[in-house]
Subunit: 440 residues, 2 copies
C-alpha cells in the first residue's frame, strides 16, 4: 500500500489529538484513502515532558529542520503556533516542495498571502481547516460546497470561550467576572483571556473566512472589533424582554454601494462585536463552548454549520481530515486541485462609520420630566428611527433610571454622533451603552 | 481556458436551477475552477413546454442517447428521476467513460451498489450531493470532512414537507389535514404527498446516509418506517408539557452487540419515525421546510448541518458544486480521488424488535379506579421503567380519559407486547398511541 509520510511540528493538545486519531482510526482512514499515513517525525520543544499521548522515542526530534530535511516527510503539519518560527517552518516546507497542513489562525490571518503565493509557485498545497472553528468543516464548505454559490453574509459564533461566558451570563444571570472565572476553572478560558474576550481571536478567524467567502484581503486590525468586557447582566435581561439573545458575533456582509459613492471594488462590512439576535433563531440556541457559522448565499439561502470549535479531538479531526485530503492529492498527483484564495482582493472594506444595523441604546438618566423627549429628539435629528422604548421604575430611588431605545436600521456614524451629544446632557448620568442588533 | 462539457438530462425545477446558477455565477465558477463549464446538450421530454429558464434551441434534444453519443459531453447530469430510464442513462454514461452527477435519491438508494461498482470498474466518478437534503453538504461532509472520524449516530430532519407540516401542527395547533392542505397550497407538499408523509422519502435518504456514515448496505424497505399520519394535535401538547418537540427523524446509530448474541458484523439501528426530542435542542429549532442533520462522532462530538433541503436553487447549487468538484478531477486527471462507498457492508442491521429508546405511550382508558395501576403493572412485568405519568381531568365527561406514560430506555419488543396486552383490557377504549423519544 502507498504510504504518505508526515512530520508533525509541535505536540501540545492538538498534536496529541492528531496522533491519537491517526492511530485509533487507521483502518477507516486506510479504507477511505487507499493509502497509509505514516508519521515520520515529531518535533517537540521538550522531549522529556510528560504527555497524555505517548510518542515513540525514535520519532522525536527537537530540530524543526529535521522535518524539512527528511525526504520521506511529504506533508508538514504545523502545530507550533505563533507567526514567527511557524512562518519559517511553513515557508521552508513549501520551498522544498512539501505540502502543509496548519491549524494556526494567527499565521494564516497575518501572513496567509505570502504563504499562499509561495504554495502556488511551488505547486504544492496548504490546508488549514483546523485554523477556524476546530472540527466544523467551514473552510471546506466555503472552498468547495459553496463554490457554485455567491455568499451574501456570514454570521459566526467563532469563539467558544466567549460563548461559554455569555451563556453563563444569560442563563444564570452571572456577572462577567464570575462567568469568566468559571470558564477558566473548567479550562474553557486561558489564564490570560485577553485575546478571546477582546474579540481579537474572532477577528483573526473572520479575516480567514471573509477571504474565502468574499475574496476580501483584511488584516485583523482593520476589522471593527469590540469584546465582551463591557456587557452587564441587565443588558441580557433587557434584551430578553425585547425578544433577543446576546452573542459575540463575527460578521462579514456584502453591501450595496451607496448613491454618489465613487466606483471601485464592491464592499463588505467586517466586524466582531456583541450582538442581539432573535431569541428563536438557531444561532441563539448555540450554547456553551460550541461554535456555529450561519451563511446566506444567493442559491442556497440560509445554511448553518455547528460543532465544537476547539479541543484536542475536534481540532485534531479537522487536521487529520486535511491530511487525508492532501494525501488524496498526493496519491492522485493532483496538487492545487482546489485553488487557494487569490492574492488580488475582489472586495474592499466599507468604512465602519457607514455600517447600518439596528441599535440597542441604554441611557442612564435623571428621573425628571422631559428626558425621554430630549433623547428622542436627539435621535430624530439624525434620522434615527425608533422601533421600541422601555423605561422601568427605578428600584433604588437613587435618581438614575435606565432608559432603553431600540432603533430600526441606522447608520453607525449617526448613532455614535447622537450618543456623543446625549452623553453631554446634564440629565445623562453615565455613558450610554450601545449593542448592535442583527436580524439574521 | 480548458472547457468541461456537460449534458443535462431532465429540465424540471432542479434543471432550471442548475442552468441559472451555471449562467449567473459563471465568473466565480471559472475563477474557482480554472476551467469553463459548458452545457453541450439538454435532453427534455417536451421541447415545446414553457419554462421559467429559457434554453437555446440548439442545445435541446428529446433523445437521451444524444448525451451519451456526444464525445464533448464529459459529465452527464441526471435529473429525470425514477429508477428505470435514469438507471439506463447513468449506466450508459459510466460504460462510455463519462462521469455522472445525479440528484436522484431513489436511484442511489435502490441501485447505488451496481452504479458505484460500474463507476469503479470504468475509473469514473459518480457524485450525488443533491440526492439528500438539497443544498446541505452532508454527502461531502460524510465522505471528506469526517473521513478522519468514526460516526456514532446520525439524527436527521431530511424531509422538508413533513417538517413544514409538523411545524404548523406544533405552533398553530392545527390538525394534520389542515397543515397538509396549507403545505400543498404553498407548494411544500405535492398533490399526492404519500411518499413524504409515509416516511418513505426519508427512508431512502437514510439508506444513502447510513452507507456513507457506517458502511451499511440497506434497502429502504428494511428501515423501520412510520410516517406522520397518526399524529394528533394533543400529542404535541402533551409532549410540550414533558419538555419535548415532535419531529419526523431519520435515525441511524451504531449499537453495542448484546450479551449472548452471535458474532458477526457490528450493528446499526436504522429507523424513520416521529420522535420527541428535547425542546431546547438545536434540532427542535429547525422549523418549516428546512432540513438538518445532527451527527455524533468519536473525535468531533456533536455537529450539525442546517439548510434548505429542496427547491430549484438549493438543490441546483448542490448539483453545480458536484459538477465543479468533478471538473476539478477532470482537469487534474484524478478521477476516483474520493472512493465511492464499498459494496461490502461493514455493519448489519439490528432487528427492529431490539431497538432501545424512551417511549411516550398515550392510553385512552375508562375513568374507573385501578386503571393506572393495571397499566403500570403491565409495563412493570416487562421490566419497562416509568419516567413520568400524567393524567388530566376529562373535559367532555364521556368516560374516556387520556393517560400518558413516559418510559426510560426500553426494548421495542417489550413495549409492543405490553401495548398489545393493555389494548385488550376492557378498560382500554382506543388503540394506544406510541411515540419514541430520542434524547439526542
Amino acid at each position: 500500500m502507498r504510504e504518505v509520510g508526515i512530520g508533525i511540528a509541535g505536540f501540545g493538545t492538538v498534536g496529541g489529538g492528531v496522533l491519537s486519531i491517526l492511530e485509533n482510526h487507521a483502518p477507516e482512514i486506510e479504507a477511505r484513502l487507499g493509502a497509509r499515513i505514516v508519521v515520520r517525525r515529531v518535533a517537540v520543544r521538550d522531549p522529556a515532558k510528560e504527555r497524555a499521548v505517548s510518542l515513540r522515542p525514535a520519532l522525536v526530534t527537537t530540530r524543526l529542520d529535521d522535518l524539512l530535511e527528511d525526504p520521506k516527510v511529504e506533508v508538514v503539519v504545523e502545530l507550533i503556533g505563533g507567526t514567527g518560527e511557524a512562518y519559517d517552518l511553513v515557508t521552508g516546507a513549501l520551498s522544498r516542495g512539501k505540502h502543509v497542513v496548519t491549524a494556526n489562525k494567527a499565521l494564516i490571518a497575518a501572513r496567509g498571502e505570502a504563504i499562499f503565493r509561495l504554495a502556488v509557485e511551488r505547486g504544492v498545497d496548504v490546508y488549514y481547516e483546523g485554523a477556524v472553528c476546530g472540527g466544523i468543516p467551514i473552510i471546506r464548505t466555503l472552498r468547495e460546497a459553496l463554490a457554485s454559490d455567491r455568499i451574501q453574509s456570514l454570521h459566526g459564533i467563532v469563539n467558544g470561550t466567549t460563548n461559554y461566558i455569555l451563556t453563563g451570563m444569560a442563563e444564570r444571570g452571572e456577572p462577567l467576572s464570575r462567568a469568566l472565572a468559571e470558564a477558566q476553572r473548567l479550562g474553557y478560558a486561558e489564564a490570560d483571556p485577553t485575546l478571546d474576550v477582546s474579540g481579537g481571536d474572532a477577528a483573526q478567524k473572520l479575516c480567514i473566512l471573509a477571504q474565502l467567502a468574499f475574496g476580501a484581503r483584511l488584516r485583523p486590525e482593520e476589522v471593527l472589533t469590540e469584546g465582551i468586557l463591557a456587557l452587564e447582566p441587565q443588558d441580557f435581561q433587557w434584551g430578553r424582554d425585547f425578544g433577543y439573545a446576546l452573542k459575540l458575533l463575527a460578521i462579514a456582509r456584502r453591501v450595496e454601494r451607496g448613491e454618489g459613492e465613487p466606483p471601485g471594488l464592491d464592499q463588505i462590512e467586517a466586524r466582531v462585536h456583541p450582538a442581539f439576535i432573535p431569541r428563536d433563531s438557531l444561532l441563539a440556541g448555540v450554547r456553551g463552548a460550541f461554535n456555529a457559522v450561519l451563511l446566506r448565499s444567493e442559491a442556497l439561502g440560509p445554511s448553518m454549520l455547528f460543532g465544537q470549535g476547539a479541543g484536542a479531538l475536534p481540532t485534531g479531526s479537522a487536521v487529520v481530515a486535511d491530511i487525508i485530503d492532501l494525501s488524496r492529492n498526493i496519491v492522485a498527483s493532483s496538487p492545487g486541485r482546489v485553488p487557494l484564495p487569490p492574492a488580488t482582493p475582489r472586495v474592499g472594506l466599507r468604512a465602519h462609520a457607514e455600517i447600518r444595523c439596528g441599535y440597542y441604546l441604554r441611557f442612564t438618566v435623571k428621573d425628571v420630566p422631559g428626558v425621554l423627549a430630549r433623547i428622542a429628539t436627539g435621535l430624530a435629528q439624525r434620522r434615527i428611527s425608533i422601533a421600541a422604548v422601555q423605561q422601568r421604575e427605578q428600584a433604588d430611588g437613587g435618581g438614575a433610571v435606565p432608559l432603553v431605545f431600540v432603533t430600526h436600521g441606522a447608520r453607525e456614524a449617526d448613532v455614535k454622533s447622537a450618543i456623543a451629544e446625549i452623553d453631554r446632557y446634564d440629565t445623562t448620568l453615565a455613558p450610554t451603552r450601545l449593542i448592535r442588533i442583527e436580524s439574521l
